[in-house]
Symmetry: C3
Subunit: 489 residues, 3 copies
């Protein structure tokens, strides 16, 4: 055969979101996937777990410049650039303590936003094959109407077109929320958060449903920065004496009720492991004494976190909040990056995670309660078929959350369905979470999830494991209903 020679074309390449993207290539399977997807693509978005900033919707101010909006807050993006030797400062990532705000401060670090954007554009090829590429291209094409690919030659065109759009009313947060057809969006806050932005949103009369999620790590994890101070703050906030175990529990209950009153339907727990424990009252009081004095060793901290998961499950039984457990991330693996830039800078690395032994104390206590919903997540895919699907396929209280973080990707989603479905079925899963800080990527992420789920269902239909009418029912469940029901939305 004669060698194929691909000619080098220096013209801007068209940016195309193909209507069949992410569907299996086999034409028969693709046709089924296309039909299923057409039946769910316009469903509203349920976003029951994420990390967007409620202030955006409270103030409804225009977003900043393109770099500010799309590059510097997205650790998926700048970690990849950093991994290929590009300093984070040159991308506009702010060293701390130069201000914690989203909108300001980073220019002190040196990189002009346009310069940072050009660097990003010149290295956009690094994202080939990654979900960030899919999400970004969707945002470029669908949100901003860009029609050529991002590369050095088009960097300024992109920058200008996005910057111009961001100054218009149509690109204010609430307008985008409505354009994206988001039915409900959950943010995530510390128990110490007064939820002022959520209150402001309610008070504004805007109909957008932005709810909080109760994330107690800062007052439950003795290894969290400022844990002891956080207990003081919790005392101040609640009027309870949070240096006594009893007062501490009362304060937690009070804050849960406060969150629930502001729309929260769920809690979230991001522990290093899935360990649970079920201490006696006396043991728990004693251990709390140690951790509240700030004298907890690593084992004390682990045991306290473990015990508190069981306590939280008990509180969920009382107040109905759905419990989410997100274990297995080794946070801040890179101390240099942590010292210079702080948390959430792409340096959190998954670890092997046991669930079978770890969850047993909690499950022994509450596992058979049908009124309790615990949604499990993992960064360790080996647990899908081995541990999580068998657990969720037995215990009434358990459901499985969607592929998380590094696994929130086409192949990650495919592996999840392939390894979970045969043991746990579809109805023990909890729908999709976009779990993002990148507001504009929310529809892109749901688009990927809906396409991958329809593709998976199409394969089952094509292989005659499922009738198409069943797949159509399931497509709606996976795209919309399961999340809504699982999170009581």
């Amino acid at each position: 055969m004669t060698p194929v020679s691909y000619s080098v074309n220096t013209m801007p390449k068209p940016l195309v979101l193909h209507p069949d993207r992410l569907f299996t290539a086999d034409p028969g399977t693709r046709a089924i996937a296309r039909r299923l997807h057409q039946s769910v693509q316009s469903l509203p978005i349920i976003s029951p777990h994420g990390h967007t900033d409620p202030q955006w919707f409270a103030s409804n101010a225009n977003f900043g410049d393109p770099t500010d909006l799309l590059l510097t807050p997205d650790h998926y993006v700048f970690r990849m650039l950093y991994s290929r030797g590009i300093p984070m400062e040159s991308l506009g990532v702010r060293p701390r303590p130069r201000g914690a705000g989203f909108e300001s401060g980073w220019r002190d670090a040196g990189a002009e936003p346009r310069t940072a954007w050009r660097l990003f554009a010149a290295n956009y090829h690094l994202f080939r094959g990654t979900p960030s590429r899919l999400w970004l291209d969707w945002v470029f094409a669908e949100v901003f109407g860009l029609q050529v690919c991002l590369e050095s030659a088009t960097a300024d065109h992109y920058y200008d077109q996005i910057a111009a759009a961001l100054h218009t009313p149509a690109f204010k947060p609430r307008a985008l929320f409505e354009r994206f057809r988001i039915e409900v969006l959950a943010t995530t806050e510390s128990p110490l958060d007064p939820l002022r932005h959520h209150q402001a949103i309610s008070a504004s009369g805007w109909h957008g449903r932005i709810i909080s999620t109760f994330r107690p790590d800062p007052v439950v994890d003795p290894a969290f920065e400022g844990f002891v101070d956080n207990l003081s703050a919790l005392s101040d906030l609640t009027g309870e004496d949070c240096l006594s175990y009893r007062g501490y529990l009362a304060a937690l209950r009070q804050r849960r009720a406060f969150f629930a009153a502001h729309g929260a339907t769920a809690t979230d727990h991001g522990h290093p492991t899935a360990a649970t424990a079920d201490l006696t009252e006396r043991e728990a009081e004693q251990l709390f004494g140690v951790v509240a004095r700030g004298t907890a060793g690593e084992q004390d901290a682990e045991l306290f976190r473990a015990h508190m998961l069981t306590v939280m499950a008990g509180m969920s039984l009382d107040d109905g909040l759905v419990m989410q457990i997100h274990p297995g991330s080794f946070r801040n693996h890179n101390p240099l990056v942590f010292e210079r830039f702080g948390r959430d800078k792409g340096a959190d690395i998954p670890t092997a995670t046991d669930y079978v032994t770890a969850l047993r104390p909690l499950l022994n206590r509450y596992g058979n309660k049908t009124a309790l919903t615990i949604i499990l997540f993992t960064l360790d895919e080996t647990a899908y078929a081995r541990e999580l699907a068998p657990l969720a396929g037995h215990y009434p209280c358990l459901k499985l959350g969607p592929p998380w973080w590094f696994h929130d990707s086409p192949q990650g989603m495919r592996r999840f369905r392939q390894r979970v479905t045969e043991t746990a079925g579809f109805y023990n899963t909890a729908g999709f979470n976009d779990d993002t800080r990148a507001f504009l990527s929310i529809p892109a992420r749901h688009d990927v999830a809906r396409r991958m789920d329809c593709g998976y269902l199409a394969q089952l239909v094509a292989e005659h494991r499922l009738e198409e009418w069943e797949a159509a029912e399931l497509a709606v469940e996976l795209a919309y209903s399961l999340a809504k029901r699982s999170y009581k939305l």
Copy 2:
């Protein structure tokens, strides 16, 4: 594109077993798979490992009602329903100690069989995407001739049609055995079992080959319920003094010979881990003293089980019984369910399992013996490519058993071949096991396995890694010959 709208059809849906089910959708690959499958679909069934009740074939009595036959004994089925909040009692699962019999006792628990069946039918959608759905649909369509899908609207129709069939001679156990073209069926018994049903089958003159498997866990695992009593019973049964190590070993040898005389060709070992040990005679005697007194701690128990695997391998070298090791299940994870309903109620959860270090003492002693066959199973799929295939691809005594339990599913089978074949080849695998208590599902399970294996071979052919004539040879090996040879049947 206009949204596709699937109309809701409340008419009964036809139940169809598509002739191409489970084959890859690509038409070229499917055509190869179809040809390969047609060449093996009529081969007799070799069922070398399972848990059916030999009494069925001894008495040849008609089975009970549909619930009794298909729902309450199948933990794959009721665990899924339980996981979605349906009480086991309402499905007819009997709380203990209400009698151990298959045919009676459960009605005491409250649920009428027809009521339980209706509940099952109303929730049949929970099984979408699971192998239970495939097996059950096969049984419904092929065994009972049902032509509509199971759902609430058809629950009574199903119940009546199945119940009627079960009263006829054609649905007696022996008739079904013959209809299913089973060449040999292995059951599994404790060393304390007198094998009366197997003797009765032989004595009856019926030609069906039902053999036992020697499963010594009750007298080898110090953590087994009633272990010390079991040693007494073993003494009584054999005339050996099973409180001395020497007598104990002699008794085990005697029982192995007894099983072999009743057709057994294999032993089976279901330990929590794959740990093996090779103690000196003195160490072993001393340890046996501890366990025989019922004073074994957890470590003693683990070490004793570990040592006994090596002892059993030595006995297998002497008497030729094939050794099966099934490690890695955390049994009875849910104490509430265990207390109320007993063992095997869907609450056994797989755990991460090491083989490399664990098996070394046994392999150091016997690993190079070509006269020994040890068939390894796993519930931890991560071991397939990393540990099991390299071990089986080196040690003469080792073969790999088929995907087990939760992994006995289309995707589980595909992963097994994909991860094992490239290192261990096909000839270090041991064919298919249905491993079931659900007699009627045996052909369904072999059907799934044959289809998935033919599909895998078809892919190798389509990708020009294998010629079709080779794939045809292999299809027969995987469907029939490997199991027959590996288990010396």
Copy 3:
């Protein structure tokens, strides 16, 4: 349907390397893969990591007989035969200590080369579905022009045709090197190796680029056979006092420089685990005292290896050598085989390997250095998506080596790309390594890798995740450029 009956054909079967082999069957995807592959199939081979013998190219003597060349040195091949009960001696594998040479000695063990070859041919079906089959068929067809399949009936034909070819000038090592279009080939040597063969190649004026790789395990791993003697030899070779830590480090630096002067661009480290440590100077000196006296316990040895990885990373920062880490093999798992036949006899078994905690001390010290390149390998595929891709997708110094050893196979390569790409992208991977002792298989292995990579890219194109022009750029990167750049070749 009528059963398909495959007729048994006893005629020799044609040996065909199909031009579309290893490409996905879907016609659309295959067409893309074919185009991509045609654009890279003629690129020169970069072989930056392997275990061929430099003496071949120094002496340029003809290879021995077929058994000697293809069977007895290839542990992939004889371990599989051994696993099915064929004694290694009967395949011509030499028990030690009968000489270490490649060309002689094994006949003492009894098996005539032709007899061994016939045994191999009669069992060639055992390799169905394995990469060895692909590599061997390529060598048979492409290198030796054989046109029928290997089986008993064709064993002598094969033997004669290969033997005849091996006596001709066209089959001398240098001629094959040129015919294979190898641009550079790295071998692997101990620091104690004087690199005479590499010097002889340079001195010969032949233009073939054969470089060494610095593999310090014999003087860095206290558990290596003869470790203390090796330190003496290192002293003799360098004039440094290698019983002092300072002299030892100086000697290592000197040998690294010597290797670099002979073309080496990389080091390689084959530790049982990925553990690293960063001891103080005093701790390191003290520990070195223990290991240099040969009194290291297992923990001392592990800690010393761990520390030395960090030391070696520091030296790499100084001298620019690329660092390769190959952890996780349990070497010589089978003591009987080790005693009789020695190392590298197919009895090395992968183990579960942690990277996240293990690599942290080294990464804390050097992880953010952009001038450092560390290429990580694994035998534990569970680490791909969970640990390795997140690490490589963050730390500037890290790249991921290709699928290694048991995973250097079509499905292994597919799993690697599927699990790594979405988090680490393509540009954090280091191209392909053939890693082989089997010289003739080098082009075959690169052929498999190029086909699998083109197939993966084709899938991304077919699923509209990548444009074809991008895939074409990536195909060149994966086949050629990434290896060249990553290894500084």
